[in-house]
């Protein structure tokens, strides 16, 4: 069994329901995220478009975080999930340095590394990851990549030529796919990231108009 994820970016509407579901399910502390949706605005007014890209751990077949972890806190489960044992983690942050997707962070409460585990605890109880359940448009598709009859395998088969992974040149072989993605959504260097244009850092007060 090899579990994998696919996000159809053409369906995602940026509601952030998956983010909230993940936060609640996994008790992710404030200021940290196992899953987040990045907004990138494309074009020049009035010809503009907003794109939404859910970002989470890619559960790579050749995971740099697993390789660099000195104590095997990051390890593979039999179903292909790259899991983390927070009791074993020493907080060296090697995995934070190694992950090419910026998917790992140091949990401020436990002072250990943390990341998306595809809700491994829910999978063990035959439930879907919380983000999949929360998505109102079924943009998140989850399943067994080794099973040709699974939803994810059929989705990949029916969208040949339009299935991408992030940073394939890194040789990590992600088990997280995107349909309908492009350079500006999947390549962090392809979009301008200005100071203060981010709701979660510099911008603390929204102007109130209309009074």
């Amino acid at each position: 069994m090899q579990l994998g994820f696919l996000v159809d970016l053409r369906l995602c509407m940026g509601c952030k329901g998956c983010e909230i579901a993940c936060k609640v399910e996994n008790e992710v502390p404030l200021s940290t995220w196992r899953l987040r949706v990045k907004y990138v605005d494309v074009g020049t007014f009035p010809e503009t478009k907003r794109t939404f890209t859910p970002l989470r751990c890619n559960h790579c077949a050749n995971a740099p975080c697993e390789r660099i972890c000195p104590v095997s806190a990051l390890h593979y489960l039999e179903n292909g999930i790259v899991n983390i044992d927070k009791e074993r983690c020493i907080g060296c942050a090697g995995c934070v340095m190694a992950c090419p997707y910026g998917a790992i962070y140091i949990d401020p409460q436990t002072q250990t590394a943390d990341k998306c585990t595809y809700c491994a605890h829910r999978i063990a109880s035959a439930m879907m990851p919380s983000c999949v359940v929360a998505c109102p448009v079924e943009a998140n598709i989850f399943g067994d990549l080794d099973d040709p009859t699974s939803n994810i395998s059929k989705y990949i088969a029916s969208h040949q030529g339009n299935v991408q992974v992030r940073k394939p040149e890194k040789g990590t072989f992600p088990h997280h796919y995107y349909v309908g993605g492009g350079n500006v959504t999947l390549n962090p260097l392809a979009s301008f990231r200005g100071e203060g244009h981010n709701l979660f850092n510099n911008l603390t007060h929204l102007p109130i108009g209309g009074h």
């Binding site: 605005d41 494309v42 740099p64 000195p70 104590v71 020493i90 990590t172 962090p188 981010n198 709701l199």
Partner: protein, 299 residues
């Protein structure tokens, strides 16, 4: 970071989480700097005791003390950088042998054991033959202890700037630079002119070779990968430009120039200034190279 943006798309990130700060900061710089001195002085001691045994015998005890002190500074900063420092023992009881951190920890432990054995034989037993025998093994083990950080940086797949084999060459050169500088400061005028000349040559050549590597990265690095090009903007007019050049000048250019002048004037004072400059500059240049890849957004 706007490296690959094009006017036609005018793509702007309008909502994302705040970028994480620098995770490996000055504590890791201290770690690398202290380790360069701790292993470098062993390399130089091995060389001097082989080539000039009559004139350098007095360095045996001070060398092992300096190495023990700086390796423990390295270990101290390694441990305090851990977010769960009291779980450090997990490395020995749950070792993951694909990790350069694990290999480094085991090698460093062996290295420290040999250093204490050397100290025992030279201080308590006055047994120079055994000391010299152990020094051979210690020098051998100093190589992986020096190199493991380069392996760790190379395993950091996300940080394209840190690549093998460049980083391994830089680590060895840093050890030779720091080792020769420390030895020059340690030996003082007790060294003969021939020994001083040898140390000056090692210092000058290590500085020249390291400087060439940095400049090669600066010029040719951007041709390897987009990430490298983006990262190098921080030292090409970006916020770390001044610090980068302070490091380059103090660690490499000043020692090269002063070594040349001291050869001509036979001035030991110039060598001492070169040594101090190299040690300070090495910290600065290591710090810049450590920090800048961490400023790049990964997602």
């Amino acid at each position: 970071m706007v490296h690959e943006t094009i006017a036609a798309t005018n793509a702007v990130v309008t909502l994302d989480v705040a970028l994480p700060g620098v995770v490996w900061g000055w504590i890791i710089t201290m770690n690398m700097w202290a380790k360069s001195i701790g292993t470098g002085i062993i390399f130089l001691a091995f060389y001097l005791l082989k080539k000039h045994p009559e004139q350098t015998g007095f360095i045996r005890f001070p060398v092992v003390v300096i190495s023990i002190v700086f390796i423990h500074i390295f270990l101290f900063f390694t441990v305090i950088d851990l977010h769960q420092m009291f779980r450090f023992w997990h490395i020995f009881f749950y070792p993951h042998l694909t990790s350069a951190i694990t290999i480094g920890a085991w090698m460093a432990t062996g290295f420290v054991g040999l250093l204490f054995a050397m100290a025992y034989f030279i201080y308590l037993k006055k047994d120079e033959a055994m000391y010299d025998k152990l020094l051979g093994w210690t020098t051998l083990l100093a190589v992986p202890v020096t190199l493991y950080t380069a392996g760790l940086m190379a395993q950091s797949t996300a940080r394209e700037l840190w690549q093998m084999p460049t980083e391994s060459a830089q680590m060895i050169l840093a050890a030779l630079l720091a080792g020769s500088a420390t030895m020059l400061l340690l030996g003082g005028n007790k060294f003969s002119d021939a020994v001083k000349k040898d140390l000056a040559v090692v210092l000058g050549l290590a500085a020249a070779a390291a400087f060439i590597l940095y400049m090669a990265e600066l010029v040719f690095g951007p041709m390897k990968a987009e990430e490298v090009a983006a990262v190098l903007h921080y030292v090409k007019g970006g916020e770390y430009t001044v610090m980068f050049w302070i490091g380059q000048v103090m660690a490499f250019i000043v020692p090269m120039v002063l070594v040349c002048l001291s050869m001509k004037n036979k001035s030991y004072y110039l060598l001492k200034i070169a040594a101090v400059s190299a040690l300070i500059g090495l910290w600065v240049s290591k710090h810049v190279w450590l920090v800048i890849p961490q400023l790049l957004p990964m997602s």
